[in-house]
Symmetry: C2
Subunit: 348 residues, 2 copies
Amino acid sequence: MILEGTHTRSIARTADGQGIRILDQRHLPWEIRWVELRDLDAAAVAIREMWTRGAPMIGATAAYGLAMALAVDASDAGLDAAYGTLVETRPTAINLRWALDQVRAAVQPLPEGERAAAAFARADAICDEDAELCRAIGEHGLALLRDLHAKNPDRPLNILTHCNAGWLATVDYGTATAPIYLAHDAGIPVHVWVDETRPRNQGALLTAFELRNHGVPHTVIADNAGGLLMMQGQVDAVIVGTDRVTANGDVCNKIGTYLKALAAHDNGVPFYVALPYTTFDPATASGADIPIEARSAEEVMRLTGPDETGRIATIRVTDSPALNPAFDVTPARLVTGYITERGVLATI
Amino acid sequence: MILEGTHTRSIARTADGQGIRILDQRHLPWEIRWVELRDLDAAAVAIREMWTRGAPMIGATAAYGLAMALAVDASDAGLDAAYGTLVETRPTAINLRWALDQVRAAVQPLPEGERAAAAFARADAICDEDAELCRAIGEHGLALLRDLHAKNPDRPLNILTHCNAGWLATVDYGTATAPIYLAHDAGIPVHVWVDETRPRNQGALLTAFELRNHGVPHTVIADNAGGLLMMQGQVDAVIVGTDRVTANGDVCNKIGTYLKALAAHDNGVPFYVALPYTTFDPATASGADIPIEARSAEEVMRLTGPDETGRIATIRVTDSPALNPAFDVTPARLVTGYITERGVLATI
């Protein structure tokens, strides 16, 4: 990832190795603020209150959270309690449970004195692996985008994406954005339609911020606009990330993804889901079995940003009651393919 | 319509009969501000800058605008110039041209001295007719909703609507909202899912305001949420208004309508379009032939509302470029029926 011209990662251990530093995404893009998380509670709050988000990043942060908990209490009881706290922070992304299971399995056979260090090492490995998985997703997606661009070589390749499945949601590269960054770097003239992604505006705030930092041409659109753009032939492919893909191929992702998949299907636009194997959940039969997180209605009723003076203000959007389901399910039948680290899996 | 407990109309002549008063919708719901429009330019600005909006209201305001112009210059040249100014204010709603044609046809045979009064009278008649058309739409829609409610009499009837096709968009009752108001008044337990309708938030601001004033239970949702709610069986019908229905039944309406129609179709939820005959445009073959208004990107990039202190502030949503197409086209194949003043026309 490129942040203000510098290559870095979105999560890393602090200098003393005992904590982690992450970007506090609540302030992006208006302010780039790194925060240090130094204990279990800080990690749990950061996930629950979305200082950080995105399925792989939730997993990585939780893995370190467990390591930090074990540094304080490495007993079996401490391990179980910390696992329980972290696994409850967000209900939908499967990477959270996957990462916690990885760390627990690595430390359970060890004496208490070795557990914290082993947990940190396992969390480091999860991060290294995630970066490599995303890079591989990017390589396979790049091949796809190269083929798509070859069909209309005289104009930019228009990709639509929803929410943020970029490097802010992963350790590096992103999932949905990895093919875009690699295509841009390879000289393919990519242009990205960035869905605003109400209510938290992760597209307008985070994905646009990433693309600006990387220099990728992009345009923010209301979530309502993608259908028209597809109907007008202005979208060559949709690529999104996901929080969980079930055994039958259903895709749980940010609320609104399903509507874009319907529009893509209706207009013959390929609809791709980019994900590492850590986001597959073969233990869940179909999308109907995934818990859909209901977040606070306040996220719909209020919006925060810099006012005319640059002060960060929160304005009211409505005084009526609101409902805020955070995810929806895109049936497998609407998915053209899954871009994974091993290649592109097509639906039958 | 009921505003602060009082029955009124959203457009009426001023006390001296020479101008009109409308609600300045730019300040709703935070402030109820009636403004008087007293000449052609004021009417043109009010339409172009969306002090008022909605296909029937645009037509009514333009009709009065032409009358006010004729009060200053009733010559053929004056008539043509005023017609030309007004017809250019918004490109998509067909009612604008329809209303202007009505007034022009009424005054053209008359001597100049009689034209202004005749134009005002014709504009009054357009308003009276619009209120009656909407009431009749409401009656036919009420019968539909009664049947839908009878299928699940033990729970509220959940209607989803997009944008504002309420009395703020018409002279009274609204189009999409007329069946809802009549059903509520008839004792059917209606609950309305109100799409926020980015970027201008006409749902969260205007439709929610109307429903609050009428006492109809409702919940504001992000535009992204409707697909999930339909998949979960939480929507019994979608009812929207329209700016133009073409000869083949394609429906031009606020951007994002198409996505809801796709989701309704995918989930077996009936999708109705409510409109008076003035919104049918048999001269246009299909939706592909309708000019789609591209509005300022600023409408996506900024949002205005009361801040923590109650001051009306404008905050930035993104610093990236944005695109703002205002309408999309829902193909006739996705429409269950058109609720008109004459009854419900089903698609074949």
